[in-house]
Amino acid sequence: MAEKPIEPIHQFRINDIFNIGNFGGDGTPGSGVHIAFTNSALFMVLTVGLIAAFLILGSNRRAIVPNRLQLMTEMSYEFIANMVRNTAGTEGMKFFPMVFSLFMFILVANLFGMFPYFFTVTSHLIVTVCMALLVFFTVVIYGFWKNGLKFFKLFVPSGIPWFIIWLVVPIEIISFLSRPLSHSLRLWGNILAGHIVLKVFGGMVVALLAAGAWGVVAILPLGMAVALTGLEVLVAALQAFVFAVLTCVYLNDAIHPGH
């Protein structure tokens, strides 16, 4: 263990579990699209499976006086339903399934990542970008479908004199286009940074213990690692919440454009 250097990035490596096949390409290695069932895909499946089991087992009793599991599922429903109603209005409830799915997926995937040797799905930018783009395109498509050209009012704040408007509109458009980027970067950055820091402190404990008499000092990074683990659990839940809140805020713009 002491000879092997501790790579903080190693935990994010994607491995094939079984190969599905190569599509396209001209037969030379590296060409075409390589599709495989990876450890990332495995943990996505596990995440969805756990959520489905939790919700199905929790709600199939349909008791008037709920037991603990049913209470937990009802609380998770109420929590997101209240959030959607507060930020996007009652009309926003038609997007409740999407917001709830996103919230539960991110929450469970983040919490899965807190187990040692588990892969963290949300630590890969492609995953968070896909989710952010899903929200972005939902907002754009639904906004145009519901409001037509009035959706452009989103870029033209009311009460602006005409000689300022040509400056404000490009700023508003850039601000709108930057949403999926900040939406996805925030979740990815928090999770990635947290896991790297945890690994670095954990690696320091091992390195110090291997250094003989200096092993006594290893208690310091160990304490940090313990504290950071608690913080990371908080971050995991908080980032799922923030992602869902911002989804609601953006959907609110699609439902009620114009500030």
Partner: protein, 127 residues
């Protein structure tokens, strides 16, 4: 969920019809509570940890600049305007970043609303 329904349940038999008769009133009361809960929920959302608050603002700011510069670069690739679209859109991106940060902080401040009975500060400006 926090309905005190045990008071009605305590006397069974005579209490049972009463439970259903005032059901409409209780539903109305619960609906009213939802609005009140919304306010407390909003204040609770306000105390996110400082790190996530900072990360939110930083990502809002950086994202707008990146998008602005990227858009400008793409325009420069296709139009003979090099390097002006990048320069102008980068600056507009800065402005959009500031706008994003101002909006995000306004949201955060709205979440931690000042209680209504807080005494207002005296207006020092002599206008």
């Amino acid at each position: 969920m926090s309905e005190p329904r045990d008071d009605n349940r305590s006397e069974t038999g005579s209490g049972a019809p009463k439970v259903t008769s005032d059901l409409g009133a209780r539903i109305a009361r619960a609906r009213g509570q939802r609005a009140a809960e919304a306010v407390t929920e909003q204040t609770r959302q306000g105390d996110m940890s400082g790190m996530s608050r900072g990360f939110r603002l930083a990502s809002e700011f950086v994202a707008a600049i990146l998008v602005g510069a990227g858009l400008g670069y793409i325009i420069d690739m296709f139009l003979p305007t090099r390097p002006w679209a990048t320069v102008v859109l980068l600056l507009l991106g800065f402005a959009a970043g500031v706008l994003n940060v101002v909006r995000a902080t306004a949201d955060m401040n709205a979440a931690t609303a000042v209680p209504e009975d807080t005494p207002a500060l005296r207006d020092d400006e002599d206008d």
